[in-house]
Symmetry: C2
Subunit: 329 residues, 2 copies
Amino acid sequence: MATIKDVSKLAGVSVATVSRYLNKNGYVSKEAELAIAEVIEKLNYRPNTIARSLAGKKTATVGLMVPDILNPFFPELARAIEDAANTYGYTVMLCNTDNDPAKEQRYIETLLHKQVDGIIISSYTIQPGHLSGLQKAGIPVVLLDNVFSSDSVVSLTVENKRGGELAAEHLLELGCRKIAHICGPLSITSSRDRTAGFEAVSAGTDWFTPSLIGYSDFTVSGGYRTMKKLLADHPDLDGVFASNDLMAAGALKALSEAGRCVPEDVKVIGFDGIGLEMLSPELSTIAQPIYELGKTAMDVLVALIGKETGIETDQVFPVTLTAKQSTVG
Amino acid sequence: MATIKDVSKLAGVSVATVSRYLNKNGYVSKEAELAIAEVIEKLNYRPNTIARSLAGKKTATVGLMVPDILNPFFPELARAIEDAANTYGYTVMLCNTDNDPAKEQRYIETLLHKQVDGIIISSYTIQPGHLSGLQKAGIPVVLLDNVFSSDSVVSLTVENKRGGELAAEHLLELGCRKIAHICGPLSITSSRDRTAGFEAVSAGTDWFTPSLIGYSDFTVSGGYRTMKKLLADHPDLDGVFASNDLMAAGALKALSEAGRCVPEDVKVIGFDGIGLEMLSPELSTIAQPIYELGKTAMDVLVALIGKETGIETDQVFPVTLTAKQSTVG
DNA sequence: AAGTTATGTGTAACCGATTACACATAGTTT
DNA sequence: AAACTATGTGTAATCGGTTACACATAACTT
């Protein structure tokens, strides 16, 4: 593989001039430019990224840490981030953390020593203290769905509480008079907020009782089990709001097995807006702008890497009601 | 961040000795060892991966190219590969190619210049010629689901044809007497093989006719549309084999909308074995050992990177029938 | 006792880029 | 005409490691 030296020799200039040409900084004469361009073409020369990183301190690589790429929410996010990264000339390193703080720490260390230019973290378990190594090294971080303000850490979230309200309101408007709620892990802020939104709307109604809230874990099987229990306790329920789409899908399955028709007997709405087009009936949901979240995360990260100032440290994105067959038939 | 020089100075030895200590090659005395270990601990020193790569030609990074991480097959693969990579101390760069040869080429170039140690490619469109740059640079490649023998390129596939046979046999054994087939893109070898397996079993029967085969595209909506058409042409069909699980899920949806009960009226089986636990009824499938495929891909890649010899260039993995509600109730 | 072999260490070249600095020349100001 | 400024280029240090090679000493061989 050709090096910058080969190019400089063949083009009859110094490596400095070639480097200036490549990076478009400093002066380079028209003649030199042409000569270099020609040689580069001829040798099919591409600068060695590793050497460039060592000298220039930039790797054009970002880390993406997600709990588990198997959860369909994260491929959507990853895809958006990868697309955006691509347009900026960045490459993405994928890290599955399993929400295991030890694994998270190991990956942060690894990414730190691989000198990624920035990191996007989606994690329920991360704590401000875990990021101190990155802060010290001046590596920018964008946090998804986990807010803790701090310099050089930007957080992106959605209107989780408003989403919970929207879901409850939607079911009420459709005539539901006994709405159950499958809530996610209480350790997760956004999960708590969604439930809070639901409660804000339901708590005042005559049908509401705390046992209509079933606690679950954001998985399909968890939603399935919790739905079964709710059905046993409240056979007359006519609406269900699950704090994420996977649990909602599990609820649909439990309802179908129990012989309930959706949406005729029971209306179901989820949260997230992941593309679960295989479901029948199709799932109504409170959709997050997942692609936009991912893209913005990357945009912001690139801005931080470029030491731009005036970046909002906390951005909250709107959610939108997407009514499908599971509520409106 | 501390460098090897800092360590060598504080420990009172040369950088060479520290390097030998770090890489466990060459001789290092007990005293030196202890002194170095102590200093490393004290400075919390970690070797700079970039510098190490530049000098040592190894980046401990591998590229993973997949068509689209949004297709649930690929997160499963990615997860397996990432887990395996992790145990070897490798990091994974994720690339979505969209089966676009130009994008593929760009990514190969990028990975080449980022000097990844190896690449795992899952692609329907890749051609032997596209890999010549990698071959020339001596970067090992493992190909998934796309066979073309060549040195330093290992291919991993599954018994696609046998899977098609298994699916057809399974439906026949369950009493189906008119089985439709939703086949995938004919441009994809494994897709053709699955269909060939189905045909091998069905072609001899009295009910078989070519119009029972519907052509589709490996997506949920494609499976849905094709199922509708098949139902219109053959209202009396009582079994469906789809060449992948996504199309099978689409078929289930179409059947449900058409008022057909699965598996009572129609039995459905897919192919792949991706975890579609949200479906009701749960989907029977011809399962590929996806996790094992991914893990093996990484194992083989590491072996190739280590210049091990005697690696089988073509490995074919078995498939297994997983009977669930969509065929056996 | 001389010749090997094993052990241990340091110097300096090298990987392939970037960039500070020195220097030269041409074009503008005063 | 002297003094600047803008343009253009090359030398060499630097990034932070690895490793070939030279050299020294200790431990075995015969």
